[in-house]
Assembly symmetry: C2
Homo-oligomer: 325 residues x 2
């Protein structure tokens, strides 16, 4: 039974959406505990009252320090204090990072936590790390992100000896910016199965298991993919609806189109792990629907079940201390 | 009549494809001149013989210096020496940049040339600059890219007072990496109609006229969009073909799907301008088909017709010298 602390306030669609998602995820194996304002209707789920809320536009570090009774900070502290095994929030990513660093703290040896997203690519799932926690990162950080991504692929995606590539602007070793050129050399000596650079155009193909990058580049790539999927499907829909022939065809292909959309929809995978901490933290999209929240909670429970934090604790410091291992 | 020097050797599909594209583009207003090996069948177009070829994996600067009789260098020199008004190559972007800097040279006041790509977005075309020339760039470079992109939008896309945004990982001013944070401040003081950050998820929507970024980030975003379009259309096709119902629907929506694909296909816009030089340089995709080459040559001719180089020469140095203008 995984006890998951859920921040009921974070997210663009209001607490009702979060509560609905939590109720949907509740099962024999998952016990969501909601953190939100007194009097919130939790559909029968347990509520821990929190009188403050962190807004999306607040400075993360200041908000986390000033609002110790916010739903986000209280939910994070529940993991730090052993009252929950994982935390899920659709609130500010920066505030989640700040609260997690302050209360849950980093695993020994970890320089910086990083966000790992599983991209539902065509051939196989791809772990993209870092997807947004570290807008500025150094080569030694990228090497550690790669190690964390590899452990994640092994433990959660059950891939043995995962193949790792570096996101860059050309497959040739010498293509990239100074960060990727320096990281490339370190990754060659990392002991990982590092097979060179990959381009963002291959991300949805799923040719490798782990793609490592800094948080700025990873976030740009991820959002470009998401936006393109949305714009393209919308463009096709509008064209189809502009003729009778198209509308009839559209009815016939609807099941096929929905299968593709379902596979690629960010709501299907729901959230991302913030890796490198002493507790399990899942960050959901700010715009999450109740389905996305339910899936983020399930993702958190899966991480608990697979003991992701313990595995990272056992293996990342060892790998970093002994790069050839 | 625009005389366009065309490198017949660059590109993954061989000289025949380039020649076919040049023949397709040849018209009353466009005179392509091919640069390639002696004896090349040019379908009746003029040929300037070049005995060397620059390969994609060569070091750009060394290759350009060592191979003065390569098709790429000879085509670039034709513009530098006034024998042609524009040059088009599907060869190495790095070699085109190196040859252009060496022979055509920068416009006065320009720090670095940048690649401007027109993204065929939903609401209106968007100029993305830099799309790959400068993997590492400084804030003052980004400001100049923004000025060049704005002039391009005014002169070629005929947008008055174009709206400029900075590509980052959040719309809030304080979201980004150090480069975007520093650039944001400079752009606020640039005299451009700068309206803040934009995210990569909006690029295909077309909400603004110019999106400015460094060459690494721009290239990552552009290739993520291209790859997603390809993977998504392929995914839909495969799903549709897996059932009789889907195949029938697929036949009915084919015209609609082709209109969308045609609008978004990189082959439709064909190439990208390398801006900031004393001559017009168009870079085509390495994988260009003959249609893409023809469109890249037409793009070059349009730049000649609209006097893009002269306009940049008149306006960019002035704008950079007087940031409040």
């Amino acid at each position: 039974m995984a006890r998951v602390a859920v921040d009921a306030v974070g997210g663009d669609r209001g607490p009702e959406t979060i509560v609905a998602g939590a109720a949907e995820a509740a099962s024999a194996g998952i016990e969501p505990v909601l953190f939100g304002p007194p009097g919130l209707d939790t559909l029968g789920l347990p509520l821990v009252e929190a009188t403050q809320a962190i807004e999306m536009d607040e400075s993360p570090v200041e908000a986390v320090r000033a609002k110790s009774d916010s739903s986000l900070v209280r939910a994070v502290r529940a993991v730090a204090e052993g009252e929950a095994e994982a935390v899920v929030s659709a609130g500010s990513t920066g505030a989640m990072l700040a609260a997690s660093l302050l209360h849950i703290r980093r695993l020994p040896g970890v320089f910086r936590p990083a966000i790992a997203v599983v991209i539902p690519a065509r051939l196989k799932p791809v772990v993209l790390i870092d997807s947004g926690a570290n807008p500025d990162a150094r080569p030694e950080h990228l090497v550690q992100f790669a190690h964390m991504g590899a452990v994640f692929a092994e433990e959660i995606l059950e891939v043995s000896d995962p193949e790792v590539r570096l996101l860059s602007i050309g497959e040739e070793d010498e293509k990239g910016n100074q960060l990727t050129l320096d990281s490339h050399e370190l990754l060659r000596a990392s002991g990982l199965r590092f097979t060179g650079n990959t381009e963002s155009r291959s991300l949805l193909e799923g040719e490798v298991d782990v793609v490592v990058t800094d948080g700025f580049t990873g976030n740009i790539a991820l959002k470009a993919i998401e936006g393109t999927i949305r714009s393209l499907l919308e463009g096709i829909r509008a064209e189809i609806e502009s003729s009778v022939r198209g509308r009839l065809g559209g009815l016939l292909i609807r099941p096929a189109a929905q299968r593709v959309r379902h596979r690629l929809d960010p709501e299907t995978y729901g959230g991302a792990y913030l890796l490198g901490l002493r507790g399990l933290v899942v960050i959901a999209h700010g715009s999450s629907s109740s389905l996305a929240i339910a899936n983020a909670i399930r993702l958190a429970a899966r991480g608990v079940e697979h003991r992701v934090v313990e595995r990272l604790g056992e293996r990342v410091p060892e790998r970093v201390a002994s790069p050839q291992g």
